[in-house]
């Protein structure tokens, strides 16, 4: 397994609260890795540190062999590490097409270009991504008019527009109807195969996790308590104790 992402002793304190504590994480190329844990386990915070939404209190992040700790978010994205967000985070008054085209223009270094017309640029690639996520029909709609499921798909398409090597997805299926959820699972699987994408994601839906994850990392109170193949994680006593036994019913 060639490594693509590695974190070293990543820690984040909010005041006196330890949100993430000494997390060492290694993700291999083209791997689909899930981070699970009860609410408040530090999953989103971990993602926010890796993509530098926050500064870590201590620890390092390496991506493709380079230390990216503290690098501005827009540069991390250009290195090929994209993320999608837990709450839908789209451009409410841009069309679906423009939203995705924006990512492509940005990653091609055209976002500051004044002397060209945006309309004709990166058209085919934008259409290709829209087809892939199933939003081709809605391309002219403004994002705020989309259904929740479509917004989540647009969210993914915006991330894919930056042509990432690796994608961090924070609860990609939250709030989706069951058939939408499985559509997305299939899509993630296809992205790995066709686009050679590495995926690190958090998810509350255990069926989804056990269906597509190659490997699972379990966080509890900010610390990594277990890591391994889905079958091993399922059998781990500590995991059952802190997580599967108690809070799964609440989801």
């Amino acid at each position: 397994m060639t490594e693509i992402l590695r974190t070293e002793k990543l820690t984040k304190l909010f005041g006196g609260v330890t949100a993430v504590s000494m997390v060492d994480l290694v993700v291999g190329r083209e791997e689909i890795c899930a981070v699970i844990g009860p609410n408040g386990a530090g999953k989103s915070t971990l993602f926010n540190i890796i993509t530098h939404y926050f500064d870590p209190t201590s620890g390092r992040v390496h991506f493709q062999g380079k230390d990216i700790t503290g690098m501005p978010a827009h540069l991390i994205c250009r290195k090929g590490l994209a993320r999608s967000f837990q709450l839908t985070n789209v451009y409410p008054r841009l069309t679906v097409f423009d939203s995705v085209q924006m990512s492509l223009l940005s990653i091609e270094g055209l976002s500051g270009s004044l002397f060209r017309r945006a309309r004709g640029l990166q058209r085919e690639e934008t259409e290709r991504i829209l087809e892939m996520v199933g939003l081709a029909e809605q391309r002219r709609m403004t994002a705020h008019l989309l259904s929740h499921g479509d917004k989540k798909r647009l969210e993914l398409a915006i991330s894919l527009g930056t042509k990432p090597q690796m994608l961090l997805m924070d609860e990609p299926t939250a709030g989706m109807a069951p058939d939408e959820t499985w559509g997305l699972v299939e899509l993630i699987d296809r992205l790995r195969k066709e686009e050679k994408l590495t995926v690190l994601f958090t998810e509350h839906d255990m069926d989804v996790v056990f269906d597509i994850a190659d490997r699972i990392v379990v966080l509890h109170q900010g610390a990594k308590i277990c890591e391994g193949l889905p079958e091993d994680v399922q059998r781990d006593d500590r995991v059952r104790e802190c997580y599967l036994g108690t809070s799964e019913g609440a989801q």
């Binding site: 501005p72 069309t95 939203s99 924006m102 990512s103 223009l105 270009s113 060209r116 945006a118 309309r119």
Partner: protein, 322 residues
Amino acid sequence: MDERPAHGMKKNWVIPLSGVAAFVILGMVLGEFWVKVATEAVIMVLFAASFSLLYGQTGLLSFGQGAYFAVGAYGFALSMTKLDLAFPLCLLVGVVSAAVWAWLTGYLCVRLAGIYFAIMTVVVAQSTFYIIFQWYSFTGGDNGIQGLVPPGFLQEPIAYYYLTLAVAGTAYYAYYRIVGSPFGLSLRSIRENTIRAGFVGINVKRHTLKAFVISGAFAGLSGALFAPFTRSVVPQMADWMASGKAVFMGILGGASHLLGPLIGGLVWVFLDAFVSGYTVHWPLIIGLLVFLVVFFMPGGLMGLVASFIDAQGPVGEEEKPS
């Protein structure tokens, strides 16, 4: 969607051509007073565009565009009176000095977001006002600078109108191209979701600063055209009333719409000229007007037009900028 380009092409030519034709004909039929009003209106369109690029496209509420308008006007005035430069060069100096001032001050402003950005722009504008007001040896202080008479035939109101029309028309074409450029789309992404824009690789601070400078250049051009129009410059060009005018014109027309600044600037100036012929209570009427627009037409006049067109047929909201 394949029938769209042909349709769009037709629209792309007919509207601007008929618009330009209307302005040219206007110059032929109007009397001297109304030609002057039209000249001021055309100049103010650029001032409204400067506000709209920041607010309508980028989502940054600038309450200080008057500063760049004034720097443009003083740049023109000083290069004419002190350096004795040719008229076109004076215009150029006005635009460049406004852009440079926007770059220096914008560097501070774009570091702030929301209301803090707005406050910072007010602070910058007031500072600009006081610098102009108190620097007697250079700016003439509260006396301003008089005698800015344009050369030769441009002293004719009608000639100056056509000059203004040509310059402002070109500048508005530039505005149209900026809005439709990849950079314009980046600005709208920043407006819609600044955080997300950063996470797709857009350097938000750099882009907003660039928008700020371009916007300053538009205000500067507006000021530089205004100085020889009124034959004088005064420090009040930089005060908060002047900045407020840009805000009102922009919001009246609909700042996020391509034609918003055009409509806003024209309606404002013509209404001003028209109403002040009847009553001295023009500010009161404008207050009411702004109140009505803010409450009932959040998208401005062009927003109203756009929603009317949307009701007629399926046209995307983000159709115009391209």
